[in-house]
Symmetry: C2
Subunit: 389 residues, 2 copies
């Protein structure tokens, strides 16, 4: 599929051999006791990875967008007011999904691409009205903007809104303490820092989110997303009682349990620290190479990914050179600046070796594209951070 | 996951080594040219497998229930009238999903469990009102009832209804000629006769279904299922132009393309014939062992699966004995008779060897459960059919 090329996009990422092995195992019955054991264990482990001991996990076949859809479909009723902290493409999407289920959405937009709204501005908006829900994109995959989820969650709680975090490019990479920070629902997709090939929507809903669901006055208008169907399945798996609704994606769930085991073996604190260190090393290399980043400042920047602008005289054709040098990167995604920047994911099982290989391939690609810089300056900057760790 | 035990349930089934290898390959980017090539090829092959040259295929991460949800969400608007030909559990589900999207549903129910409504009765109902859509479950996985899809589709067309076939336990196993028979939409899930681990919802919509979608007066009320988002993605893949909506399940789609290639290498006519022959052999064995089947007559019976009642004095504990003898089977699913019967799937890459192994394990299990019969009588009956082929 990609030979030995490194996949360094913001998902799908490089998966561990053990996870890929689980993907390729001969499938058993979705009702087999050993599968129910694995499914139940995966649910228990999700709580630990999301740091949400009292959360209700949902694992459902679909993409990250389904996880957003599930959230909006179950929590929103027609006429509910929702506040979207807008930091880019995926915040726009969340607003569209919330509206689809009847929410009246107020958006607080970042002053510019690469920026995030100030906490003061969010608070000012929260004061003006009564919001049922506040949605935050932890890392906007389109721009690498990362927000202060802890601060935003505290504000949302203070003003009585359910705090919903789209953690698609964040969970298990960026620091997120769902329960401690008062996040009512966090969601992600399998192919990001969770470390499993694409195909699973993952949601952990805290008690206040589940209460809001239970107190609905109207039925959920989306059948497949409806927790009424899925809650007994998830509860059944945790009590090791197989129950049927839809056939679960057996191999993906087996692989998920393997990956969650590896994540917890590393430990969440060590994992957060590794992501920070490798991100710092990579960003140091990008800066040493003279590339500006889309996020306007370090405190508005993700640790799971980096989004550099191409330097003057270089365009997206450089990605082809970088791939020839062995590393697959992603082009721009935000419509307004799509052709002016590129994206690198460094999350999940990413290592110092991957960081150096990626910086090296970018140096090779930039040189082939005719960009002038001192050979090895990016590698040296990355190594400076890596060796001090 | 299951060692060398044979998985003979009505999905997931036994997958080929090539399909499992694709599942375990190192994942590439969902935008990589070689993945877009594979995705595009899979869409083209779906048209051939569904025998629907002018159909629009959709491949989306999710379960078979999502395929039903996609169908109802895109084709139904509030107040539309829908007719459900009810043959069991999954017809009940289709009715519930259609209602969720605002349809007024009329159901024509089978006179008894294991039976299907007569064509005359369906026609009488079609005459009484103007139905936008008629939904048919080709094979009800809960009972092994198979219906006359060709006859039903002709009736639906005659009376101006969009003909929708839930082919979850049928497509690529049961004979179905979507375009020739006038079926406007057929759907399935990956883990059945299509031969890929669970996680893909597959839909092929004909021109009349696509027209009905394009002529909607209201927006689709389900975001993730909305063809407005997915149509450009599917069209983009077919023209080998990567476009982004949600991240597609890369490994599952790679595996799908492998399996569809294997299906087409066999050829649809040969494949239908093999499924008929193996079904006949298996059902001959079941009859020789003195077991009655849930479907009331051979013309109401699926070829992809068999649902025998337990004989007197035997209950679901026999499934444990059968598994110890090496074959995993499924228990009952239809709530009204759940504990009185069991289910065997024989579809996809199923072989004569699998049929004999399964009959042998059932004989062993029945003997251990104390049921009296002449040893080998089931095997002999199956072999009689198999060797005459």
């Amino acid at each position: 599929m990609k030979d030995r090329k490194l996949l360094m996009i913001p998902g799908p990422i490089e998966f561990t051999p053990e996870v890929l092995r689980a993907m390729g195992m001969a499938t058993t019955s979705h009702m087999a006791p050993n599968f129910i054991e694995v499914f139940g264990q995966a649910l228990e482990r999700l709580r630990q990875v999301f740091l949400c001991p009292s959360g209700q996990p949902f694992v459902i076949a679909g993409s990250g967008t389904l996880a957003m859809d599930i959230t909006a479909a179950n929590l929103v009723e027609r006429g509910d007011k929702a506040l979207v902290v807008n930091t880019g493409y995926f915040s726009d999407r969340f607003a569209a999904i919330l509206e689809r289920y009847g929410a009246t959405v107020t958006q607080v937009r970042a002053p510019a691409i690469g920026d995030a709204p100030a906490l003061e501005e969010i608070e000012a908006t929260l004061k003006t009205d009564s919001y049922k829900l506040m949605a935050v994109t932890h890392v906007d995959t389109s721009t690498a903007v990362g927000v202060d989820v802890k601060g935003l969650a505290a504000l949302g709680r203070q003003y009585g809104a359910l705090v919903v975090v789209d953690g698609v490019c964040a969970v298990a990479g960026e620091e997120m303490r769902q329960e401690e920070w008062g996040i009512d629902l966090a969601l992600t997709a399998s192919q990001k820092a969770i470390g499993v090939p694409p195909g699973l929507a993952l949601v952990v809903a805290g008690p206040r989110a589940m209460d809001a669901f239970r107190q609905r006055k109207t039925a959920v208008s989306n059948y497949y997303a409806d927790w009424t169907q899925w809650l007994p399945i998830m509860e059944g798996c945790e009590s090791r009682q197989p129950r049927y609704f839809g056939t679960p994606p057996v191999n993906l769930i087996w692989a998920l349990n393997v990956s969650l085991g590896q994540i917890l073996d590393e430990g969440m604190e060590a994992r957060f620290a590794r992501h920070r260190r490798l991100s710092e090393a990579f960003k140091a290399a990008v800066t040493a190479l003279g590339l500006r980043q889309v996020p306007v400042s370090p405190d508005k920047t993700a640790t799971t990914m980096t989004a550099p602008y191409y330097p003057a005289g270089v365009d997206s054709k450089v990605l082809k050179h970088i791939e020839e040098a062995g590393v697959i990167l992603a082009g721009g995604l935000h419509p307004a600046i799509k052709d002016r920047y590129f994206r690198i994911g460094h999350m999940g099982a990413v290592s110092a070796s991957d960081i150096l290989a990626t910086v090296g391939a970018i140096e090779t690609g930039l040189a082939r594209a005719g960009y002038g810089f001192e050979a090895g300056v990016g590698l040296a900057a990355a190594q400076e951070v890596l060796r001090s760790a």
